[in-house]
Symmetry: C2
Subunit: 123 residues, 2 copies
Amino acid sequence: MPSAEHITETVNRYIGLVAKGSAEDIAGLYADDATVEDPVGGEVHIGRQAIRGFYAAVEGAERDCELVTLRVAGNEAAFQFRLTVTAGEHRMLIEPIDVMVFGDDGKIAAMKAYWSADNVTQL
Amino acid sequence: MPSAEHITETVNRYIGLVAKGSAEDIAGLYADDATVEDPVGGEVHIGRQAIRGFYAAVEGAERDCELVTLRVAGNEAAFQFRLTVTAGEHRMLIEPIDVMVFGDDGKIAAMKAYWSADNVTQL
C-alpha cells in the first residue's frame, strides 16, 4: 500500500502540474488502466491515453492551482482545491473536491472530481 | 436520480443529526443495504443495523457539527465538516471530508469518510 507521505506528495505534484504541467506530465501520475470521472456523473475517461486527452483540453490556457485542504486515509485521498483558468479576457475560478484512489504501484488508479456550475465563478 | 436539492438537504440533515440526533435518526437516512467506511481504509459497516451500531458509539457524547463546504455532482456529494466531541473533560475536533453516494430512492447508499489522526485536534 502506498504511504500517506507518498499520497500527499503525489497530490501536491498533481496540483503543481495542473497549474503548470503538460497533459503528458499529468497523465504520467496515473496508472495505465486508470479512470477519471470529472465531474462526477459525467463521462468516465478510461486509460492513460484517454486521460491525457482529457487534460489536453486545458493545456493551452493560463492556469493557477492551489491546494486548500487534503485528507489522506487508507490508500485514498480527498482534497479541495482552487483552479483559476484564464483564456483570453475570460477568467474563471473552479473549486472542486477531488477523490483519488492509489494502487500498490503508487500511481493514481481512479480520480473523481466533485463540482458543478455552482462551484464556478467568473472573475 | 435524486436532485441536487434533495442531496443538499440530506447532507444538511445529516450534519444536524450528527450534532443532535440519535443513532436511529442518522441510520434512517441510509438505505437498508447501505455501506459506511469511516475512516476510509477501516472496517466497512454493511446494512442499516450495523450503521446504527456505528453511530451509537458517539450517541452519548456532547457533539457539535458544522458543514464547511459541500460539492454535489451527479448522484453523489463530497463535503468537509467540523465535528467537536466532548466526553467528560476531553474535547476533540475532527475535520473529515465525507463522500456520499445516493440511490434512486433518495437514501444514502454509501458513505466514505476521509480523515486520519492528522485531522484530529485535542481542544
